[in-house]
């Protein structure tokens, strides 16, 4: 599969009156055409900031370094004008909160038409036709009538469908969905995820799915990147991450979540709290909470180690001199 977006050495920090918040520290990620890459992490992991940096949607006080290659161009080096041509057209974003992701003062039709007319140069009539097609595609009933309605007249699930329609409006090659179903009820979430799977198949769009819900990841992703404290801990296919994880954080995360289909077991919690990104821990960001932490972990951040088959983890346990860990013990089966 051809790489579509390649993020290299991305670093983002925010200048605040309390100091510099180092939200993203040296992130390298690749998304291939037509694949779903899930980026998993908790608060402070930097998953959202990474994507917002690539899309250049951050506030003025953000300092971004690194490269993000898309279609041969480095997005981080483009001018704002050139970037605008890409946003919405080549790369679209779907946000978490369906209440605030849509402009409450414009009709749905107006918002849909805006992007279409801007990027595809269609007339208002043609744009309307396309808008109706899109609403049909995302499963909004009576699309002609609903074009004239305002966001507050839609339910949460419907609004999210409209957001997806907005994202698809110009046939983008990549959609970045930031927690698209977190604010929705679980049955509505199932509807929306089904829809996204179907659309991806039809239109062969690549999707970057940012989420903290491992169940959603298991159902949707082809590949997974696990982030913690502004760094990527582990990257691999969805099978590798769930069945052969190699990073202590991934192990801990998998053991901390209950599964509907398992018998009752004690959940293993991770001691401590997510890191303070104003003063992140030295070395590996996970070391204060890691059961396998070693001296080196406190001072030096581990490099990404390739384990074969595109499966990589950044952990000192991969080093030949490190104590051997029995991986099968670390991965409990239900």
């Amino acid at each position: 599969m051809k790489p579509l977006l390649t993020i290299e050495n991305l670093q983002t920090s925010f200048k605040t009156y309390a100091g510099d918040v180092q939200a993203v520290r040296d992130v390298n990620l690749t998304v291939h055409e037509g694949e779903v890459l899930a980026v998993v992490g908790e608060s402070g992991s930097g998953k959202s900031v990474t994507m917002m940096s690539v899309m250049r949607l951050l506030a003025k006080n953000a300092k971004i370094q690194g490269q993000a290659f898309f279609n041969g161009q480095d997005l981080l080096a483009l001018s704002e004008k050139e970037m605008r041509k890409i946003r919405g057209r080549e790369i679209a974003m779907v946000f978490q909160d369906p209440m605030t992701g849509l402009n409450p003062t414009l009709t749905i039709g107006a918002q849909l038409r805006e992007g279409i007319m801007l990027h595809m140069g269609l007339s208002k009539q043609e744009a309307n036709k396309r808008a109706v097609e899109l609403l049909n595609k995302v499963g909004v009933p009576e699309p002609e009538r609903r074009l004239a309605q305002y966001p507050h007249e839609f339910s949460g699930g419907m609004r999210q469908r409209v957001m997806i329609a907005l994202g698809l409006a110009c046939d983008p090659r990549l959609i970045i969905a930031d927690e698209p179903t977190t604010a929705l009820d679980v049955t509505i979430q199932a509807q929306i995820l089904e829809l996204m799977k179907q659309l991806k198949k039809e239109m062969n769009t690549a999707i970057i799915l940012i989420t903290h819900n491992l169940g959603v990841v298991a159902g949707m992703a082809d590949r997974v990147a696990v982030m913690y404290g502004g760094r990527v801990c582990e990257v691999g296919t969805v099978h590798q991450i769930f069945h052969e994880p190699r990073h202590p954080y991934t192990w801990a995360l998998l053991r901390a979540i209950p599964r509907l289909d398992e018998h009752k077991r004690r959940l293993e919690s991770i001691a401590g709290s997510p890191p303070n990104m104003l003063k992140p821990p030295g070395g590996c960001p996970f070391h204060p909470r890691c059961a396998h932490a070693m001296n080196v972990c406190t001072s030096e951040a581990p490099e990404m180690t390739e384990m074969g088959n595109q499966h990589r983890a950044a952990c000192w346990l991969m080093h030949p001199d490190a104590p051997k860990v029995d991986f099968s013990q670390e991965v409990t089966k239900a």
Partner: protein, 330 residues
């Protein structure tokens, strides 16, 4: 499997309707939001009953009405055999020691102007449980019980992380030595790795102190993990109630089936093989619920009878109740 004996908390046909008023110059009641419309269940001492449902089903309202944060429109709440609905506010006060609550939002459930010690101490002060040095000792031991340090007593909520704040909330509830705690979405706002911390703490406390929980949440995986029995709510009513394992392996109500099939499982092999039941449309409004069975508008198996007759919650087998005319496996 459930110890038979007198239940600690019994709820009988609880109703809470929020009136809708309109009109000028003197507003009149024109309708009601039937948030809770006839809910009954019981909880044994030391047991956890899970209450699940989606937005608008009324589960949070049930919890708050139980503790008289809203005055019930109808129905009874019985604690240890005593009917509480007849009590005035002052007579109810001692029961506030026995029944407590943990809230959802760790950022909003602690008074930002008070230190952690004051927050926990307030519980002690209201009921006059101790004072002076004894009171401070009690606060320290409560902090220790939830895994915090004595030095945290002088800190303010904004200095703590979400998980720590939630633990302060638990300590506050424990300060009055309750036998029953309503947990209103206590972990939904926490990071995944912290949720396990808090849930484990709650389980440990239950074992140590014999507290019963009403665990209200929308995350079915977590509810099944912590609860011995689960009640599923839809639009103000309980549609099914059973042991956790039974609910998962032998669900009978179509809504329960849809809910179970919608919950994602963190295993790509399992997910790849699942057949999902996708419900159409959105839940109807609690102001004007559909006639007959409330779920019929979204039920893939609805028949004529479902439109005409409202199914009651009936015990189908030991401890397993369903409100459906055509339940599965019946």
């Amino acid at each position: 499997m459930t110890t038979q004996g007198a239940p600690l908390v019994e709820v009988k046909d609880l109703k809470l309707h929020f009136p809708i008023t309109a009109g000028f110059p003197i507003p009149r009641q024109v309708g009601a939001v039937k948030a809770v419309d006839g809910v009954s269940f019981s909880i044994q001492p030391g047991e956890t009953l899970g209450l699940v449902g989606e937005s608008g089903c009324g589960k949070t309202t049930v919890g708050r009405t139980l503790l008289r944060l809203y005055p019930p429109t109808d129905g009874k709440v019985i604690y240890d055999g005593k009917d509480l609905s007849t009590l005035g506010e002052r007579e109810f006060l001692p029961y506030r020691r026995k029944m407590q609550m943990i809230f959802q939002d760790p950022y909003a459930s602690l008074d930002p102007r008070m230190t952690a010690g004051d927050i926990i101490g307030e519980a002690i002060d209201i009921h006059g449980l101790s004072s002076g040095k004894e009171r401070m000792d009690r606060i320290y031991s409560l902090l220790d019980l939830v895994g915090l340090l004595p030095e945290h007593a002088s800190r303010f909520p904004h200095e703590f992380s979400g998980g720590q704040r939630q633990r302060i909330g638990i300590a506050r509830a424990l300060a009055v030595e309750p036998n029953f705690i309503v947990c209103d979405e206590p972990i939904s706002a926490l990071d995944v790795s912290i949720q396990a911390q808090v849930v484990n703490l709650m389980e440990d406390l239950q074992e140590k102190l014999g507290i019963a929980y009403l665990f209200i949440a929308h995350d079915l995986s977590m509810v099944k993990h912590i609860s011995r029995r689960i009640a599923v709510m839809y639009l103000g009513r309980i549609v099914e109630i059973a042991d956790s394992e039974t609910l998962y392996s032998k669900p009978m109500h179509p809504y329960t089936l849809a809910l179970l099939s919608a919950v994602p499982i963190p295993d790509p092999v399992v997910e790849g093989q699942r057949q999902r039941i996708i419900l159409e449309g959105d839940p109807p409004s609690p102001v004007n619920p559909p006639s007959g069975c409330r779920f019929r508008t979204r039920c893939p198996y609805a028949k004529e009878k479902c439109k005409e007759e409202d199914p009651k919650l009936i015990d189908v087998s030991k401890g397993h109740g369903v409100a459906c005319h055509f339940p599965f496996g019946a």
